[in-house]
């Protein structure tokens, strides 16, 4: 019989067997058909109904075989749904272990179907038990072959938490848990399921003898469960037997401060204090672990350490700034702003405000809003000096609630907020809230503008309804200036909360008001409110995307950008791409393209390909959007593909495209030196060329100046960190970036970029929270990670410039004396420099009371022209491919993978796996005296405090200058 089948040219005969009355003949026909489906499916499919009838015939003994044949035919026809239905009907005849493409396809389809049904959330209609059985069999097989990663994937997608739990318990648990936590949780689109999985993770973690408390606390912070977090912290602290428990409590506190929202950390602190009351004990002692944990959680310790790091390693090249300042005409507010931002970014968080001191005359040219911006710049420079915020800004804040110069005072409010960004103390919040209501008159709105922005920065992510209410009141005054700031402030305070009431009010007001500024700010604010909400923001997005007002559509773009930030979600990308090419309003298109950068910030390698065509669009707004998207997504990576696209854009014929491209390049090349990426020197040169070329558009020059500031940001010690060292999304940083790109409409918002700066430090501290002298090893070439050399003084250019200004009559005479004059000029420049360095010296001696000041930082302060990179870092071994990195020094992101903790070190880090950021280390020989790094900054500041107490006349030693603003008019 079988031989006959092989030589068949048609299955017609076999099919006709099905029409027979004899059951036996029908069965025989089916058996034969089953073996020839591969060859004659085209023919059999014509009579599929006959086979289906046989299957439906309850009395037919072999109806399962009929189902199998039908299933195979449908599979060949590409009707996988029907194929699955009949395969399920075939029962045990459908052999799961078969490796044929038919079985595999149907099983895959079954799993897809199962996931789809489970995700649909309508549990009223129960899932076909046969389907469930197929999936169960798949799970069982995976368990047998120990293919846990696959089980975890399917279990999470199909929301089978029981299976997930089983897999987690059975498998190689630690690595599997880490895998789930790191790679899977972020991919779950539904926040609800995400929370369930997190809960499960906590449960599984806690079942171990020695749970990984860090991971648990991270999950808890995501679940917003401060009670349990506090419990764990207390548990760790109470365990007096082992120092490492306390240390890991500290480490957790540091990580929470970096990763969790302000709202959460505050709640944890409150919980911890609550516990104190019951247990009593040593809560008041300064050095008690519980107090320490609280102070870490409040962010004070991190800020202190970062400040110390940034101040100590500050490598700003003042010459760049000086040159830019000289070239740009400070009478133009645009140029003035450019220098202000450049300076602010270069010195962000370093507390070094020498530039302002040395250029008082330049500073005095600021007028109206430039003055606001210039004052606010102080907040960027001193960001993190929580303790001294008020004393630093004392000269600019209004006295006794009477306003004399609204612009600088408004700026000072904003600066105060920036100093306390994300770490708003009660005092600051109350002060700013008072400021909102206590001023009247025509200047009030400027002050309110500053105060609103300040409140937003300080209260970021706190979700405080009280602040929100205060801001709402300002919004309702319907003043364009203050309302704009209030809307942004509202967004920042309620960030990521998707607070229903606030959202409704904002949306309603956006449709009511006639001020474009307010609508635009509200659209940003609503975006911020939706931060990280993923699908839960879809309702708002759909509503806004349909609006006629382009400013509200802009709001939709911001909402997509923020809600899906860092998720790489395909639907979000599709929506943005659609808006980017189809919207009628340029602003919306630009924002949509830029949004791509946010969404794909975790997979920067995808972005260059995606925006390549957009970057060559005829529409300059789309081009600039593409540039900025590249900058945001590839920030700090030095991506070659991105640079290749951006470099030609520096020559674009439209000024703001040049501006966008410069800024994007600065983002990408931040902290890179020209040994690692040879293009850096070129592009730095391009920036200064654009600035110095009188014929380039003023907007291009503005962009280039900003870029100079960004590429050397924070004394060349910070990078753009939209994710934290643990790979979590850094909410304040993302918000900061979104607000930064709003500088397109309103310059002062550029200051928010400072929130995106992340110090690239290695900070190891012991249980006293002090930094011991430790040297870690880096297994790579040192030259790759050095600071870029300082620029040469441009002497040659001076005469050329002078020549153009020379009168014809004196030209000849001039030519004869040119040489001596040149020398004289040089001399004067030298003298100036000397004077300035003396200034610096004086300051140093003023501030640093300790005689042993780290030489390397002295080098920079004195402005020595040492180009030798060896002088920049000390204590490294000779040799090409390894070198040592001291504690409290710079570790670049791309350097991290080469970093290694030395084996025979006295100190051991509590948290394994990363050698950067704040690390708690355990002392293996606690009896020996420790070699600690003395804090330069802290000491000096504490000294000041003492002085403040003793001598009121010298209240602000670090601020011995006043802005030379005269009486101003708003």
């Amino acid at each position: 019989m079988a031989v006959q089948v092989d030589t068949l040219t048609s299955a017609g005969g076999l099919i006709s067997l099905l029409d027979e009355d004899e059951r036996e003949l029908q069965y025989y026909g089916l058996v034969q058909l089953n073996s020839v489906t591969d060859r004659f499916w085209t023919e059999i499919s014509d009579s599929i109904s006959k086979i289906e009838i046989l299957y439906e015939d309850e009395s037919f003994e072999h109806r399962k075989l009929a189902a199998l044949v039908a299933s195979k035919i449908y599979f060949h026809l590409g009707e996988f749904d029907d194929a699955l239905t009949f395969a399920l009907g075939a029962g045990e005849l459908f052999n799961l272990t078969d490796s044929s493409s038919y079985v595999q396809t149907v099983v895959n389809h079954a799993i897809d179907k199962y996931i789809e049904l489970r995700a649909a959330d309508n549990m009223e209609s129960p899932i076909d038990s046969r389907l469930e059985a197929v999936v169960e069999r798949m799970f069982a097989r995976c368990f047998e072959t120990k293919d846990y990663a696959q089980v975890v994937g399917i279990a999470i997608e199909s929301r089978r938490l029981d299976i997930l739990e089983r897999a987690l318990k059975n498998g190689d648990t630690r690595s599997l848990l880490a895998y789930v936590q790191k790679d899977c949780v972020g991919l779950i689109s539904s926040i609800h399921v995400q929370a369930q999985v997190q809960e499960l993770l906590v449960k599984v973690h806690l079942q171990f003898d020695s749970p990984d408390y860090e991971a648990v606390c991270l999950c808890l912070s995501k679940l917003n469960n401060p009670q349990k977090t506090a419990e764990i912290l207390k548990l760790l602290i109470k365990d007096k037997s082992d120092d490492s428990k306390t240390l890991s409590a500290y480490q957790i506190a540091f990580d929470l401060d970096a990763n969790a929202t302000q709202e959460f950390t505050r709640a944890v602190i409150a919980e911890l204090s609550l516990g104190d009351g019951i247990t009593g004990g040593d809560s008041n002692v300064e050095s008690s672990p519980i107090t320490r944990v609280k102070s870490i959680l409040s962010g004070d310790e991190t800020l202190k350490l970062h400040l110390e790091f940034l101040f100590r390693n500050n490598k700003t090249d003042m010459k760049i700034l000086d040159r830019t300042c000289k070239v740009l005409d400070s009478r133009l507010s645009l140029a003035h702003n450019a220098v202000t931002f450049s300076n602010a970014f270069m010195h962000a968080g370093t507390t070094v405000d020498n530039f302002l001191r040395e250029n008082l005359e330049w500073l005095s040219r600021a007028s109206s809003w430039s003055k606001f911006t210039a004052t606010a710049a102080l907040g960027v420079i001193h960001q993190g000096q929580v303790k001294h915020g008020f004393s630093l800004l004392q000269p600019y804040l209004p006295e006794d609630s009477t306003s004399t110069s609204p612009f600088s005072e408004g700026g000072a409010f904003f600066a105060l907020g920036l100093i306390h960004a994300c770490h708003g103390t009660e005092k600051v919040i109350d002060y700013l809230q008072d400021a909102l209501i206590s001023y009247q008159g025509q200047n009030a709105e400027i002050l309110q503008h500053g105060a609103c922005l300040g409140l937003g920065a300080a209260g970021m992510g706190s979700g405080s309804e009280e602040i929100a209410h205060a801001l709402m009141n300002i919004l309702y005054t319907d003043s364009a200036v203050s309302g704009e700031a209030a809307a942004i402030g509202l967004g920042l305070v309620m960030m990521g909360t998707k607070h229903e009431g606030t959202l409704k009010d904002m949306l309603l007001y956006a449709k009511e008001t006639e001020h474009e500024k307010i609508i635009r700010a509200l659209s940003v604010g609503m975006g911020l409110l939706m931060f990280g909400c993923k699908q839960e923001a879809d309702g708002l997005i759909e509503k806004l995307i349909e609006e006629e007002d382009p400013l509200l559509r802009l709001g939709a773009v911001h909402a997509i950008t923020m809600a899906y930030c860092g998720t790489g979600d395909n639907t979000a990308i599709r929506k943005l791409l659609h808006l980017a090419v189809s919207d009628v309003k340029d602003d919306v298109r630009r924002a949509a393209v830029t949004g791509l950068g946010f969404i794909l910030l975790r997979s920067p390698e995808q972005v260059p390909r995606m925006v390549q065509l957009l970057s060559e669009s005829y529409n300059p707004h789309v081009r600039v959007g593409a540039a900025v998207a590249l900058g945001i997504a590839c920030a700090g990576t030095g991506s070659k593909a991105a640079i290749e696209i951006l470099e030609p854009m520096l020559k674009d014929s439209v000024d703001f495209v040049v501006e966008g491209a410069s800024i994007a390049l600065a983002f990408i090349l931040i902290q890179q030196n020209d040994i690692y990426e040879p293009k850096v020197a070129d592009i730095r040169k391009r920036f200064s060329e654009i600035i110095e070329n009188k014929h380039s558009e003023s907007v291009s020059r503005f962009g280039a100046a900003l870029s100079q500031g960004i590429i050397d940001a924070g004394g060349r010690n910070v990078t753009i960190g939209l994710t934290t060292s643990d790979g979590q999304l850094n909410a304040p940083a993302c918000a900061g970036m979104l607000l930064f790109i709003q500088f397109w409409y309103w310059f002062p918002l550029a200051h928010f970029l400072t929130l995106s700066f992340k110090p690239t430090a290695l900070i190891a501290i012991n249980k006293e929270l002090q930094a011991p002298n430790i040297e870690t090893t880096c297994l790579s070439r040192k030259a790759l990670y050095g600071y870029p050399p300082e620029i040469e003084q441009h002497v040659a250019q001076a005469p050329a410039k002078v020549a153009t200004a020379v009168l014809s009559t004196t030209a000849k005479a001039r030519r004869t004396v040119k040489k001596p004059a040149e020398e004289a000029e040089e001399g004067s420049a030298d003298a100036q420099k000397k004077a300035s360095s003396e200034d610096n010296d004086k300051m140093d001696t003023d501030s640093a009371t300790k005689s042993q000041v780290d030489e390397s930082s002295m080098d920079v302060d004195e402005g020595s022209n040492s180009n030798d990179p060896k002088a920049l870092k000390k204590g490294r071994k000779p040799g090409n491919d390894t070198f040592t990195v001291a504690n409290l020094s710079r570790v670049l992101p791309y350097q991290q993978k080469h970093m290694k903790w030395p084996a025979n070190c006295r100190y051991i880090p509590v948290k394994q796996g990363r050698v950067s950021g704040v690390l708690l280390v355990k002392d293996t020989t606690p009896s020996e005296p420790e070699d600690l790094i003395s804090s330069m900054l802290q000491e000096s500041l504490e000294e000041e405090e003492n002085e403040t107490a003793s001598d009121v006349a010298e209240t602000q030693p670090p601020e011995p200058f006043e802005y030379p603003f005269d009486n101003e008019h708003a």
Binding site: T9, S10, D38, R39, W41, T42, E43, S45, D46, H76, L77, G78, S101, T105, L613, P648, K651, S653, H695
Partner: protein, 492 residues
């Protein structure tokens, strides 16, 4: 003397050897250039690199030597190769009767590159008549193919299957290849490999038609969809087969459309002359069956003139409606028609000849007796003539009425075709056709790589120059102004 000659011989052979080795080296270079394309394609996951590698295949084919192929294969015979890749390479070398060489510096061989080498081997074997070995190698290849569903493999797989089927065809056992092709079609459909799917469908149709299994072939076309963006030459062949099937199945208008499209989709150059001839043969018959007379100009095209000669005579016979002449032509060229597999269609033409005759009569005479018709068309009896005319009227071939009593046929007035909506429909058809061609060509366009960047650089340069010029002009204006001021001062 003889010694000398011997020495000369040796020298010559040495020289020859040198030349030979140089040639091998050169060929090897050509091949490795194509391999580099493939490698780039793998890296970028871009199919068009694979196409590029295959583009020069016909050139390469003429100069293939077993030594060359073996040498390049040796460069990729690494120990780290996946098992079935290694197996294929080994078979290829064996088929070439070369020794498998193990090269210590060999690179790992990607499936694409392996397939490319095997394809070269297949070509060499086919051109040198070593069909048995070719079939054996092809079997091994087909066994291995299912394991790598990558986009870049697609065009190579399609080619491999083409030669696989070809080897079976020359061995005259095409039916043995059918199960493998069906399996491969399934796999290609699942993996969404468009080119392979298109190729396999075409091969299967050819396979069925070879055994005159028109039913099976028709079912296959009905149950599958031909990939929309398959290469044009595959599409042309597919359309030809479909047209033939439909012609057999009496679906003439569809067949005519598909055959016409096939002639248009196929490139018209010397290499495709054979295809054009074959398609046109069927096309002419289908046209005749539909009652149309093909354009005379068709038979004047140089590449078609000679092969279509019998068809021209056939057409003339049909046009005139001369049954005798028609029978003569058929019997004269019977063997030829049989060879072209169109005899069965031609036999159906007899009716058409009669119909054509009736039509010309109805145009010429407004009234004619059945007897005259019978004489003119050489029919057997008046009754026959009456039936045939009645049928023609019913089919809409002629517009006439039969007067049975008086025994004559009365033609209706010829009405103006331009008064109906027919021309409109015809225009619509043509416009749709043109729009489709336009859309397809737009879709198949690609953005150029980065070549246009150079132009952009020029443009930038131009903009810069222009700006500088404008700047200078502006400066000049200032100077002139100041000069003028000076002059005025002096005047004062």
């Amino acid at each position: 003397m003889s010694n000398n000659e011997n020495a000369m011989d040796v020298e010559l052979t040495a020289e020859q050897k040198q030349a030979e080795s140089r040639r091998i080296l050169l060929e090897g270079k050509y091949i490795t250039r194509n391999v580099r394309f493939l490698e780039r394609g793998i890296a970028a996951a871009e199919v068009h690199y694979s196409h590029r590698a295959l583009r020069t295949l016909s050139n390469l084919r003429k100069r293939l030597e077993p030594e060359t192929i073996a040498e390049v294969i040796a460069a990729y015979t690494s120990v780290s190769n996946v098992q079935n890749v290694a197996e294929c390479l080994r078979c290829a070398v064996e088929a070439l009767e070369m020794k498998p060489a193990a090269n210590p510096a060999a690179k790992q061989c990607e499936p694409e590159i392996c397939l490319f080498f095997c394809l070269l081997t297949q070509l060499y074997l086919l051109d040198n008549g070593q069909y048995e070995k070719g079939a054996k190698l092809s079997d091994t290849l087909v066994g291995m193919l299912s394991s790598s569903p990558r986009k870049t493999v697609d065009p190579l797989v399609a080619r491999v299957f083409f030669y696989f089927s070809r080897f079976y065809e020359v061995a005259d056992r095409l039916s043995d290849a059918r199960p493998a092709l069906l399996r491969a079609l399934q796999a290609a459909t699942l993996a969404n490999m468009k080119e392979s799917k298109a190729m396999l469908l075409t091969l299967l149709l050819r396979n069925y038609l070879h055994y005159k299994l028109y039913d099976q072939a028709e079912r296959l076309t009905a149950k599958t969809t031909f990939p929309t963006d398959a290469p044009n030459n595959l599409l042309a062949r597919y359309l030809y087969y479909v047209g033939r099937i439909e012609a057999i199945q009496l679906n003439y208008s569809q067949a005519q459309m598909h055959l016409l499209e096939a002639t248009r989709k196929a490139p018209s150059n010397a290499a495709t002359a054979g295809f054009q001839q074959t398609v046109h043969k069927v096309y002419v018959i289908v046209e005749l069956l539909m009652g149309n007379i093909p354009e005379r100009s068709l038979f004047r095209i140089p590449t078609l003139k000679k092969p279509l000669q019998p068809y021209l005579e056939l057409t003339q016979a049909v046009r005139i409606g001369d049954l005798n002449r028609f029978q003569e032509v058929v019997s004269q060229y019977q063997s030829k028609f049989l060879q072209d597999q169109v005899l069965i269609l031609i036999q159906r033409l007899r009716h058409n000849v009669i119909k054509a005759g009736i039509r010309s009569i109805s145009v010429a005479y407004s009234r004619i007796s059945l007897r005259d018709i019978c004489l003119k068309l050489h029919l057997d009896s008046e009754e026959d003539a009456e039936y045939i005319v009645a049928k023609a009227i019913r089919d809409g071939v002629i517009d006439a009425t039969i007067d049975h009593q008086k025994g004559y046929v009365k033609s209706a007035e010829i009405h103006n075709v331009y008064g109906t909506s027919d021309p409109q429909h015809a225009f619509d058809r043509r416009i749709t056709f043109c729009l489709n061609i336009y859309n397809e060509s737009v879709k198949s366009m690609r953005y150029p790589g980065s070549d246009h960047r150079k132009e952009l650089a020029y443009a930038d340069e131009a903009i810069r120059r222009e700006r500088e010029l404008a700047q200078e002009l502006e400066n000049d204006d200032y100077d002139e102004d100041s000069d003028a001021d000076d002059v005025m001062d002096e005047d004062l």
